[in-house]
């Protein structure tokens, strides 16, 4: 179920975490579903087992999954606040925006770039607010 983007620069354990979060958000993974066992992920991706252990441990720390001794790692019955909050209205308006951008002739790459710039701008606005700088 996992795929890695080697060129993204995003640490591998975070890529794994994001993919589980996304699958839960989209309803592809539901409460009680088992995450792929360690050995399976290592064999499929040829990655360090410690990386998978770390990703699963962080997800457990967030409350998104639970580990059952000797059985594996499962999606938690109750998802933590923040994970499932992708309100339909937000998704719909984003979709409308993406359609508009595509209609204006922007490529998928350009659209992705715009979104990541917007995220960076928003993050630095927040930081400035925290530091008390206008």
């Amino acid at each position: 179920m996992f795929r890695l983007d080697a060129g993204s620069g995003v640490p591998i354990y975070r890529q794994l975490m994001e993919q589980v979060r996304r699958d839960v958000m989209l309803g592809r993974l539901v409460a009680g579903d088992q995450l792929p066992p360690l050995r399976e992920v290592v064999d499929a991706l040829a990655i360090n087992p410690n990386t998978v252990v770390k990703a699963y441990a962080e997800l457990e720390h967030e409350g998104l999954v639970v580990r059952r001794q000797g059985m594996g790692t499962f999606v938690a019955a109750v998802s933590p606040a923040g994970v499932l909050v992708a309100p339909a209205a937000v998704r719909d308006s984003l979709l409308r925006w993406v359609r508009r951008a595509a209609a204006a002739g922007l490529s998928r790459e350009q659209i992705r770039l715009l979104v990541s710039i917007a995220l960076d701008d928003e993050a630095s606005d927040e930081e400035r607010a925290e530091c008390g700088v206008a």
Binding site: L4, A6, G9, P11, I12, Y13, L38, R39, V42, D43, L45, A46, I47, N48, P49, N50, T51, K54, C131
Partner: protein, 290 residues
């Protein structure tokens, strides 16, 4: 907890008087997969030879699970560069030799591994592919059930499929036993998926050593006008490069340090960290502890 491998003030002097390694301090916890990175001639192989108990350091101390390596030979598995094996022996004979020469050799594990990899045991070593030969060498050391695995450029001559097979089978065995692996390479690109601990060696000095995520968290890539590092006070500069009128620098900020307006800060990628330390000035070594 005893470190799988500890180097303290370690130095090694050539007969001619030059230093292959100088004042190296590294502590590798058990169960970690360590990338030992450095250009050719940086001292990687010397360091591995010392960790394997084949060379005595000139100064300082080396310990494998708390003891001198030459007293721990049964717990150390070392595959030297190009996986040297007697070319005229058959696979079965190599494994038998391993059994005779190593107390505690797990012959069953060795047989099972070779069978699972579909390597013909009647074949002579020189008739095997590079990937198969590397796998036989790995089988030989894994069957020792080591606590510390030392691999010198193990992937150097393997095609992509053989690399993948080598890695997955190494991971499978190591994860079960909590073996620490020291993995030397000068190919940065593939190391992020293999390793969780980084040691950068440059001209015999350890430039940085620590958990990769800890190192990442304690560094930043700062981009700004050409001369920003010169005009900013108190920058712990690891390396800097300039293109198209901008200077991109890898820095190790003090806790809470910010670099002011006009400069963009971002988290370094693994490649930026490794390359930054490989190309950087000879900064004092950084041991990043968790």
């Amino acid at each position: 907890m005893t470190a799988a491998l500890a180097l303290r003030g370690l130095g090694h002097q050539y007969r001619g008087g030059g230093w292959a390694l100088h004042d190296c301090n590294v502590e590798v916890p058990t169960g970690r997969v360590v990338a030992l990175v450095g250009p050719n001639g940086a001292g990687k192989t010397t360091l591995l030879n010392i960790a394997a108990g084949l060379l005595r350091p000139t100064t300082g101390a080396v310990q494998v699970t708390g003891e001198r390596p030459d007293r721990q030979l049964a717990r150390i598995g070392y595959v030297a560069q190009d996986a040297p094996l007697w070319p005229r022996l058959r696979v079965a004979e190599v494994l038998e030799l391993g059994r005779c020469m190593n107390p505690g050799f797990d012959a069953q594990l060795a047989q099972a591994r070779v069978r699972a990899l579909e390597i013909p045991t009647r074949a002579r070593i020189n008739a095997l592919s590079g990937g198969q030969r590397a796998q036989v060498a790995l089988t030989l050391v894994l069957a020792k059930r080591p606590q510390l695995l030392l691999l010198d450029e193990p992937l150097a001559n393997l095609d992509p499929l053989a690399r993948r097979e080598f890695l997955t089978s190494m991971f499978a065995t190591c994860a079960e036993d909590g073996v620490a692996v020291l993995f030397s390479s000068h190919v940065i690109a593939e190391l992020e998926r293999i390793c969780d601990y980084l040691v950068v060696l440059l001209a015999g000095h350890v430039q940085v050593a620590g958990d990769i995520d800890d190192i990442r968290a304690s560094h930043q890539v700062v981009t700004g006008p050409l001369d920003w590092p010169q005009h900013t006070q108190g920058v712990n500069l690891v390396s800097a490069s300039s293109t198209a009128g901008r200077t991109v620098a890898l820095v190790r900020p003090e806790p809470g340090q910010r670099f002011g307006p006009g400069l963009e800060e971002s988290e370094p990628t693994f490649d930026e960290l490794a390359l930054g330390y490989l190309s950087g000035p000879q900064a004092p070594a950084t041991q990043v502890s968790a």
